[in-house]
């Protein structure tokens, strides 16, 4: 016999309306403040909130319709009060308030808590969710203005009235054209695309070999070796950069003088070696982690069937640890691609990379082209993130872990 519990719909006059009124009063306070009198705004907000709650409860509208109606209504009020920006703010307030009313009125606010929770516990649960939501907002929101401003038609780092009014003349792609069309940005991009892949290749090939060595059963001094190999990740970048500066500057001069290599070439070699060293810990960590789950009987089986160690490595071991290798490589790539301090210290103007150019730009505030570059980089990182996530799932599937 199934035990069913009847959840009562919450009282309108005793719960939903007052709560909505209180919630709406906060918006009223803010809007009222913008027009010079927060307290009148507070009262109007409370009245509007309570009215909205009753109206949505009483009117025979479906949720979607009710939401649409109030969004439009609030947006119109917003246009009257504050123009284009006001419309957007009004629509957002309308959407939030309507959602709030339905959320309370339908009893959804108790959906995720056990049935025996008291009102106070439910309130705390929902407040906690709100806090977490705000923290996620804090994590993600800063990136939004950057992307938005990168379409600015003016050469400013700030929003223009046209942008806020959503007028077409406030927006343009000119910063993207600047980014793609000038040597100032294309040369650094080219340098980044030369340095990062080669450094990644070095870190991945050395790192994977060493990780395989480290995962053997009898390695003398494993702890000490591990500590040395991980050290580039632990030592603060500024110290690594200082040390490399003292080391590579005379080394580079010596190579130029004695081996007759060009200054540009030696400069690239220096930066690539430095970046490879910085990327290695990530490869070591991810590949050793993957090797922990590697079933050794597979290599023994391969050897049993007559495969030599090299064949075993490439045909049996490598495909299985490939996800770890690739995600380690991605970390190494992003480390190099995103790195400024070491390039600043070790490289010369010829090796100027994209982050370097952004750094100088930010320090001297030259143009919002930086924001276009930033938006492109965010897009790239979203793609990389997606790749890593897919690889992780594939690796779990391959290892027979539940994809859960």
């Amino acid at each position: 016999m199934a035990l069913t519990v009847q959840v009562q719909s919450p009282s309108m006059t005793g719960f939903t309306a007052p709560m909505t009124a209180a919630f709406s009063a906060m918006f009223g306070f803010v809007v009222g403040n913008a027009f010079g009198n927060p307290w009148i705004g507070l009262v109007i907000g409370a009245i509007v909130g309570a009215g909205l709650a009753f109206a949505l409860h009483a009117l025979p509208l479906k949720r979607g319709q009710g939401r649409l109606v109030s969004i439009v209504a609030f947006a119109i009020v917003g246009v009257v009060l504050g123009g284009g920006g006001g419309a957007v703010a009004g629509a957002i307030i309308g959407a939030v308030l309507t959602w709030f009313v339905y959320w309370l009125d339908s009893g959804d606010y108790r959906k995720n808590v056990p049935i025996y929770y008291t009102a106070g516990q439910t309130l705390w649960h929902n407040t906690f969710m709100l806090i977490c939501g705000l923290i996620f907002f804090f994590l993600i929101a800063p990136l939004i203005p950057v992307m938005w401003l990168s379409f600015n038609a003016e050469d400013f780092f700030t929003f223009t009235p046209e942008m806020l009014a959503f007028k077409a003349e406030g927006y343009s792609l000119k910063h993207y054209r600047d980014f793609l069309g000038t040597d100032e940005w294309m040369v650094p991009l080219k340098n980044s695309l030369i340095i990062a892949p080669i450094a990644t290749f070095l870190s991945v090939s050395f790192g994977t070999l060493a990780a395989i060595g480290l995962s053997q059963s009898h390695v003398p001094g494993r702890q000490a070796i591990m500590a040395i190999l991980i050290s580039p990740m632990i030592v603060p970048l500024i110290i690594s950069a200082t040390g490399m500066f003292f080391f590579y500057a005379p080394l580079g001069n010596w190579i130029e003088a004695n081996l007759g290599l060009s200054q540009a070439f030696v400069g690239y070699v220096k930066v690539i070696l430095a970046h490879a060293a910085l990327g290695i810990p990530f490869v070591i960590i991810t590949v050793t982690a993957t090797l922990v789950g590697f079933d050794r009987s597979l290599t023994r089986a391969a050897a049993n069937m007559g495969a030599n160690p090299v064949t075993t490595f490439f045909r049996v071991q490598m495909p299985l640890i490939l996800p770890g290798v690739i995600s380690g490589g991605l970390f190494a790539f992003i480390t190099s691609f995103d790195e400024v301090v070491v390039v600043l210290f070790v490289g010369s103007a010829q090796q100027q990379t994209l982050p370097w150019q952004m750094f100088t730009g930010l320090r001297e505030q030259i143009s919002p082209t930086i924001l276009a570059a930033a938006t492109i980089l965010v897009t790239i990182s979203i793609l990389l993130l997606a790749t890593v996530e897919l690889l992780r799932r594939r690796s779990e599937r391959l290892r027979g872990l539940s994809p859960s």
Binding site: V31, N33, A34, G36, P38, G85, Q121, F128, C132, I135, F136, F138, L139, I140, L143, P145, V146, L149, F157, T158, F206, L209, L214, Q216, H218, V219, A227, I228, I230, S231, P236, L237, I239, S240, T242, G243, F246, F247, A276, A277, I280, I285, T288, S327, F331, D338, V341, L344, F345, P355, F359, L362, R363, I370, L371, L377, V378, S381, I382, L385
Partner: protein, 556 residues
């Protein structure tokens, strides 16, 4: 089974004793593992560990003083520098002239000036102005000598006077000093050998002429016999002619060039009587300043703790270690600020990261994975993108101020100053480092069984008690791991403080970068870096004790 050996050790298939065979297999396995690791280990040691160690050396290295002024440093040892206001004796100034002339020819004296200027302001310009006038000082002796005997004008005369055998030791010593000064081998044929007799009779002249000969032959690639010597050689002869022993020796000397020398002795009253101390003082009064000489003496050893003392706002005085004047104390304050701000950032990260990690660990996996993307996206986004985002948000005309002004919470004239101070650095760095707190916290919380909380509640605990007494203690390792990770990253941060920190929000790392690229006081930068490295390694050791390096996880 029937043919097992009844006695003796167990044998492997190839007939060797099993123990030996196993040992060999184990050794081979070890070798193979080491061979696989070796390329990377060598790579890291060469490109990373050696550079760091060389940085540590640089923080105590101080050979520049003894390499540039070898003679001066040697005779300065006799001078205590603490007997009242007594300046160094004349012999120090004489050595200074010979050393400085040589350094000025190789254009190395300004480097030393810059180095000593870190310790005693004004020395840099003192060396620079004096370096320009060393020729004039030498001509004070050159002109009268050439008036006395025209032979002194001729390269031939000098060459034949100084040439001979027996002075090889002195010549080699001078060659080594040159090599130390200009960082080159200085090997090669000089085309000149010093006479031992002259080296004994005219010690100053022999040194100055050797210096000149080595430089002319090896650096300028000229023929020594055809070059007129430096002014310093004339001045050195002047120094020699003041010694009674030299005058006696010249009287009984009959080798090459004896006549002009004797003529010089006969007309010694035509030579200037000014001491080198006075001559230097004529160039620059500061050569009579006790502090300058004390600085040279204090920093004359090859290795010094001076940079480290400087890094903790102390300095090396002639009488021992003392505090710097109050207006020059900056590093202790910067270290303190770096530590305090890193602590604030770490604490903010715990405060913001804990609820999120808890939520991620307790939600169903599917929704947790979606939310995890919100944590990982900033983690994967370029540091510079996030820093520029905060610049956009925090500046006076930035998004936050605009919204607050629009809503009427902030007066247009009194916009909040969120950037170019400590607030900006703390906000931006908390955002940037937050994922490094959330990820370790999450992986620890994932291992805490939710049934513990339910058990606590069913035993009558309130929500708070159940959390505080049961859940929280189990999540402490996660807090520890995340805090140390965030703290280590924070105290070494450079880019973000540089861009949003202004002057009040910068860290010690910004000062290190300043000394590397602007003030060029590399020794101090290395000392500051070494102290920072020591702090980080200590924390790293703690991290290893608490979490273990093997447990570092990236991106879940």
């Amino acid at each position: 089974m029937s043919d097992t050996t009844e006695s003796g050790p167990m044998l492997a298939a190839d007939g060797t004793p099993l123990k030996q065979s196993l040992a060999r297999a184990l050794r081979r396995q070890k070798m193979r593992a080491l061979l696989l690791i070796a390329p990377l280990l060598i790579f890291i040691v060469v490109t990373f560990v050696i550079p760091i160690v060389s940085m540590l050396f640089r923080s105590v290295e101080n050979q520049i003083v003894s390499h540039t002024l070898p003679g001066t440093v040697e005779v300065l040892e006799e001078w205590s520098g603490t007997d009242g206001d007594e300046l160094p004796p004349e012999i120090v100034y004489q050595n200074l002239y010979i050393d400085l002339f040589k350094a000025a020819e190789a254009k190395e004296h300004t480097k030393l000036g810059t180095r000593l200027n870190y310790e005693q302001t004004g020395i840099s310009s003192l060396f620079r102005t004096t370096g320009r006038n060393l020729d004039d000082m030498g001509e004070e002796w050159q002109d009268p000598l050439e008036d006395i005997d025209e032979a002194f004008e001729e390269a031939d005369f000098w060459y034949s006077l100084m040439s001979g055998t027996g002075g090889e030791e002195l010549l080699e010593e001078r060659r080594n000093q040159w090599a130390a000064l200009i960082d080159e081998g200085m090997a090669g044929d000089i085309g000149f050998t010093l006479s031992g007799e002259i080296a004994e009779m005219l010690p100053w002249t022999a040194r100055a002429y050797s210096d000149f000969a080595i430089y002319a032959a090896i650096v300028d690639e000229d023929v020594v016999a055809e070059e007129e010597p430096w002014e310093a050689v004339y001045a050195a002869l002047g120094m020699d002619l003041r010694s009674a022993e030299t005058l006696d020796a010249i009287a009984s000397y009959s080798g090459a060039g004896a006549d002009p020398l004797k003529a010089a002795v006969a007309n010694i009253d035509q030579l200037p009587t000014i001491t080198f101390k006075e001559a230097f003082a004529d160039q620059d009064e500061d050569w009579l300043k006790l502090e300058n000489w004390q600085a040279i003496k204090v920093y004359s050893p090859d290795y010094t703790t001076g940079y480290f003392l400087n890094a903790i706002d102390m300095e090396k005085g002639i009488e021992g270690i003392q505090k710097r004047p109050d207006n020059q104390q900056i590093y202790i304050m910067l270290f303190q600020r770096t530590l305090i701000m890193s602590l604030i950032i770490t604490f903010s990260c715990i405060l913001l990261g804990y609820p999120v990690a808890w939520l991620l660990a307790n939600l169903p996996v599917r929704s947790a994975n979606v939310l995890m993307i919100l944590v990982l996206l900033p983690f994967w986004t370029s540091l510079l993108v996030r820093t520029s985002a905060w610049k956009v948000l925090l500046q006076q005309q930035g998004v936050i101020n605009e919204i607050l002004v629009w809503l009427g919470f902030v007066d247009d004239a009194n916009r909040l100053i969120l950037m170019n101070n400590a607030t900006g650095t703390i906000i931006a760095m908390t955002h940037i480092l937050l994922p490094f707190m959330i990820l370790p916290l999450y992986s620890v919380m994932k291992t805490i069984p939710p049934s513990y909380l339910r058990a606590a509640k069913s035993l009558g605990a309130t929500n708070w008690t159940a959390f505080w007494r049961v859940y929280f203690p189990q999540s402490v390792p996660g807090i520890g791991a995340g805090s140390i990770l965030v703290f280590i990253l924070a105290i070494g941060y450079y880019i973000t403080p540089e861009i949003v920190g202004g002057t009040d929000g910068v860290f010690i790392s910004n000062r290190i970068a300043y000394h590397i690229s602007s003030s060029l006081n590399w020794g101090l930068a290395a000392a500051l870096g070494t102290i920072l490295l020591a702090v980080v390694l200590l924390l790293y050791w703690l991290y290893d004790r608490i979490v273990g390096i093997d447990n570092v996880k990236l991106g879940g």
